[in-house]
Symmetry: C2
Subunit: 196 residues, 2 copies
DNA sequence: ATGGAGCAACCGAACGTTCGGTCAGCTTAG
DNA sequence: CTAAGCTGACCGAACGTTCGGTTGCTCCAT
């Protein structure tokens, strides 16, 4: 069966392929040859769409960060009781992480070796701090415990959610709703059974 | 001031330097030249102690995994009520992660690109499964909630603890005991304040 | 309908640089 | 003195990128 046409990409579709390969191999361990093989085009063709490897990383990291930051602007994250806002943000983070698994996975492994990575790390820290402020508000109104520093609580909570990109999909059939439930339940109510 | 002597390394001390650089830059993004610069010796001198870059990675990953696995064999992890054993393991994991920060950080970023990394990932999965078995026991005797699958609970709990290597030490003066307390408290009791 | 022009996307070959590693010889600690 | 530890110069392979050229598709004039 002859191949009568060549695969066609644009910047966005190439970024999606790149993210999958970066997720599997790590950004630094992925060569442009490997990326080209995954896309089914030559290495040189990639440079028609992007100026270089880093532009693919930048595009992918932006996808993840744009989505996470947008959560903070949602109505349920900006109005209502602080504790409900924290819950909403946590659920949405889990949902987004499942939806943008590769992009978030690459994001959580950003190191700071380049300006692109450092910008992403800055945005991540700003996101963490915004969550910490929400948690601090919920602590102030007495709905969340205040014996854990809000910055630490935010980091632990976000870490719990974020780490799932490392194992989600590796077995079992847990849906995103059930997963978000588990994360929120453990984060807010803990694993221990209530003593009565 | 003349340098009248050259730094001297052995395999272990070189591994420690390597882990620090691997942690900062990522293993794949760390060149042997950068490693040599960090150690203050020439690149060629490294090969007197190790056969290659991967041997340094293997040594570092083994440090982390040996320590984690040893926790599972401790008396407080093998005897007593299952829920107490889970608590003990969580505390010890946090303590070890602080103590072996660079090694654990490199471990959690292992991808599977080489036999060394795949072995480490296998050992990580076995560790996770052992914790899941402990959690399942505590669920069976009613001390931990059983509406979250034990494998998922284990992954979430370990994820909470493990993620700390990404931010521990980046500000604040939280001691390891207080940190372990925060992790255990959130994992078992959650962030929400009890309703009465 | 057809063929030519134009274009975005693609190609193989080549580039300069960097990579992990090697080697003969030098240095230093015991 | 001796051997462990180290060095600068070097290696072939691979890296990300560039270059001049090709391809397949769409559009438009005839």
């Amino acid at each position: 069966m002859p191949t009568s046409s060549r695969p066609r990409y644009d910047r966005q579709s190439l970024t999606i392929v790149a993210l999958d390969v970066f997720r599997q191999r790590g950004y630094d361990a992925t060569s442009m040859e490997q990326l080209a093989a995954a896309a089914g085009i030559s290495k040189a063709a990639i440079y028609h769409h992007v100026s270089g490897k880093e532009e693919l990383l930048d595009a992918g990291l932006s996808m993840a960060l744009d989505a996470l930051e947008a959560v903070l602007g949602e109505e349920q994250a900006t109005t209502g009781a602080p504790v409900d806002r924290v819950r909403h943000v946590m659920r949405r983070v889990v949902e987004l992480e499942v939806e943008l698994l590769a992009a978030v996975s690459v994001l959580l492994r950003a190191r700071g070796n380049s300006a692109v990575e450092r910008r992403a790390l800055d945005r991540r820290r700003r996101f963490d701090r915004a969550v910490a402020r929400l948690i601090a508000q919920a602590q102030s109104d007495g709905s969340l415990r205040d014996d854990i520093d809000p910055v630490i609580a935010a980091r632990l909570a976000i870490g719990t959610a974020t780490w799932l990109v490392e194992w989600y999909g590796t077995g079992g059939k847990l849906g995103v709703d059930a997963l978000a439930d588990a994360v929120v339940t453990m984060t807010f109510d803990g694993l221990a059974v209530r003593k009565r």
